[in-house]
């Protein structure tokens, strides 16, 4: 592999990692606080992409208005779902929550078909991001550079909100002791609703940001959800920096793995998860679940 190729692959691995991180971080946030494994997260991602398509292409609004619309719409959907249905399931078995989110996947897939039909769509790059930057020995696409900036920005923003704001402190406290938090006057159910809303909005943003790079088709939710799970699991469930690390591992393994061992590209993410779980059963930065 020449230096140019190596640089390019490393860059692409990073770009992939960042796009995946944006999506996976929402899944991870929801798991960390609510302990709910949200299978519908991939579907939220797909809705995010489709909504961006409708707003930015059909209605002709600027791309970033589409991204915002995706975030708001997904947040709204998630909020309603949480308040009406999900909140009744926190005390039930994990299996029931799993089935519930799976039911969401099925219902939303048909809803998407009714709203958008079965055509494939694409969204244009935002102005000024459709080209590449020439560094002499290598060309880097602008939009992917943009993703490489947005990913860490979102990570830092999440870190800032979770670590440095009062609301973030409340969220962290909610992962540690729900009951005590309620005794201190915090409306914990609303914190849960907010976390589910934000986590889902992140999936929407992830889909919106992916939209210019890929074709939008029915079924685009299916692989993304597995990949997000893999990232969250190998990073350590509930750990934000774990997900960041997991996304990086995923991005580089998939990028370099596909180049070096194209025959294995279909199962590379699973092999990665297999190796990590056998060596570190609770993920790279995870801790053993207590009570076992």
């Amino acid at each position: 592999m020449t230096l140019t190729m190596f640089t390019l692959n490393a860059f692409y691995g990073l770009a992939l990692a960042m796009n995946m991180f944006i999506i996976a971080s929402g899944l991870n946030l929801i798991f960390g606080v609510l302990r709910v494994i949200n299978f519908a997260h991939g579907m939220f991602y797909m809705f995010g992409a489709y909504i961006t398509f409708t707003v930015a292409k059909t209605w002709g609004a600027p791309f970033f208005v589409g991204v915002l619309a995706a975030a708001v719409a997904l947040g709204l959907i998630a909020f309603v779902v949480e308040r009406l249905l999900l909140r009744h399931l926190y005390d039930k078995e994990h299996l029931m929550q799993l089935l519930f989110t799976f039911a969401l996947v099925l219902l939303m897939s048909d809803a998407a078909k009714m709203i958008w039909g079965t055509d494939q769509y694409s969204v244009g790059y935002p102005p000024g991001m459709g080209g590449a930057v020439n560094l002499g020995f290598v060309m880097l696409p602008q939009y992917q550079l943009f993703l490489c900036v947005v990913g860490p920005l979102i990570a830092v923003a999440m870190w800032f909100v979770v670590d440095r704001t009062r609301w973030g402190r409340v969220v962290r406290a909610a992962t540690q002791d729900r009951e005590m938090l309620a005794s201190l006057g915090v409306n914990v159910p609303m914190v849960y609703a907010a976390v589910f809303t934000i986590g889902s909005a992140l999936a929407g943003v992830g889909g919106a940001l992916a939209a210019p790079r890929i074709a939008l088709v029915p079924g685009m939710d299916a692989t993304i959800i597995n990949e997000c799970f893999i990232i969250v699991i190998i990073g350590g469930l509930g750990n934000m920096w774990g997900s960041f690390l997991g996304a990086l591992a995923f991005g580089f393994v998939v990028q370099f793995g596909t180049v070096l061992a194209p025959n294995w590209q279909d199962v590379l993410p699973y092999v990665l998860m297999l190796v990590v779980l056998i060596i570190r059963p609770w993920g790279l930065l995870g801790r053993p679940e207590t009570g076992h």
Binding site: N9, T118, D119, Q120, A132, I214, A215, V217, Q255
Partner: protein, 387 residues
């Protein structure tokens, strides 16, 4: 005018009374209507329905009404196999048409062999269906990977590609198409050399591991089978690097269709030569305009998708074969299909008696910008039909 309208009405009326007397002919149709395959399955089913409506308006087949029984094949071979059995054993379908993916096509062919019911494969292209796994009851009205590969090799020669990068999806269709191209390449382009072969996975959305390799390989052109969303994603990721400035893209997988061009609009790249089954703006047959107008009306859009014609042809062949056999008996219909020639919106087609493969051609040509259109069109569009 009035007179002819009256005649048509009378015809319908008389046909209507005939319907009441005889049991309908049942055509089972299976296309993917949910999930990723629905992109193709839904328009194909629309074409299928159009044909059935049209035939019924004319009095059906042999004066018997057609009943179309439509099912989702779910792009899952074993589910499709069960559904097809159900169509045959419960609904007593006389014939089955449809399928999309190779695996589903082969699974349906297997059921057809077992149950001795004719299956007309309208989209799956896998070569095995009409070679190794050919049997009495399976027929194909779609193109196949050998025909497509042959044309692509011819185009490679015509465009004088010296160094070729080969890009196929890593699954049955891609592998078969690759074989088809390699078989034909020495014939058309004896000096051409394949310098790189890459196979992204089916369903891939990220082509970054492949794009730099192709660009670094120094080839004049790419021979590709990246269809639909794969092509769109490739374009999105490769175009910013100036990929299409230098490299000619000769592609199967029907990416010269309006569905793709109309969606990518200005982002559709230069230097692409591809194929499509049907073009709403070009015709090689007089009946085409009528077909296109009806389809446009049914779908409520002037610019129609290409897959509908395949669903349409499946039904037309069914009708012709039954009329010829004067029976719905599968053995007789199968015999009738062998060597049968019919007129279709894309011209006269003949099913080869030995291979059960129709000589369906495709429109091939470069995708060019048009001043009055927001999207690219194929021009000149050449209908290339296998001999």
């Amino acid at each position: 005018m009035k007179y002819s309208a009256l005649l048509v009405a009378a015809g319908v009326l008389s046909a209507g009374t005939a319907f009441a007397q005889q049991a309908p002919i049942k055509i089972g149709a299976m296309y993917p209507l949910t999930g990723g395959g629905a992109v193709y399955g839904v328009p194909a089913m629309a074409g299928h329905q159009l044909a059935v409506e049209e035939l019924n308006a004319k009095g059906g087949i042999m004066g018997r009404k057609i009943e179309s029984i439509e099912r989702d094949d779910k792009m899952n071979p074993s589910a499709a196999s069960s559904t097809m059995k159900e169509l045959i054993t419960k609904d007593k379908a006389d014939i089955i048409v449809g399928g999309l993916s190779s695996a589903v096509g082969l699974a349906m062919s297997e059921v057809s062999k077992q149950e001795k019911v004719v299956y007309i494969s309208t989209i799956p292209k896998t070569i095995q269906m009409t070679t190794d796994k050919l049997h009495k009851y399976v027929f194909r009205t779609a193109s196949n990977t050998d025909l497509e590969g042959d044309t692509m090799a011819m185009l490679a020669g015509k465009n004088k590609l010296g160094k070729i990068c080969h890009l196929q999806l890593d699954y049955a269709y891609g592998n078969d198409l690759e074989a088809g191209i390699l078989k034909a390449l020495p014939k058309y382009a004896p000096d051409a050399k394949v310098v790189l072969t890459l196979k992204p996975k089916l369903g891939a959305t990220d082509f970054n591991p492949f794009i730099p390799q192709v660009m670094a390989a120094g080839c004049d052109g790419v021979l590709s089978g990246l269809w639909g969303p794969h092509f769109v994603s490739w374009v999105k990721q490769a175009a910013p690097l100036g990929f299409f400035n230098k490299i000619k893209w000769i592609s199967g997988g029907e990416i010269g269709s309006h569905e793709i061009a109309g969606e990518l609009k200005a982002e559709y790249p230069d230097n692409v030569i591809s194929n499509t089954y049907e073009l709403w703006y070009t015709a090689n047959d007089p009946s085409h305009a009528a077909f296109q107008a009806k389809l446009a009306k049914k779908l409520g859009t002037q610019e129609t998708p290409q897959w509908a014609v395949l669903g349409y042809i499946g039904v037309m062949y069914t009708a012709a074969a039954m009329e010829k056999a004067k029976s719905t008996d599968p053995d007789k219909v199968a015999e009738a299909l062998e060597g049968l020639t019919i007129g279709t919106p894309v011209g006269k087609l003949t099913i080869d008696a030995k291979t059960h493969q129709a000589n369906i051609g495709q429109f091939w040509g470069p995708m060019v910008k048009k001043p009055d259109r927001a999207y690219r069109m194929m021009e000149p569009a050449e209908y290339i039909q296998p001999k």
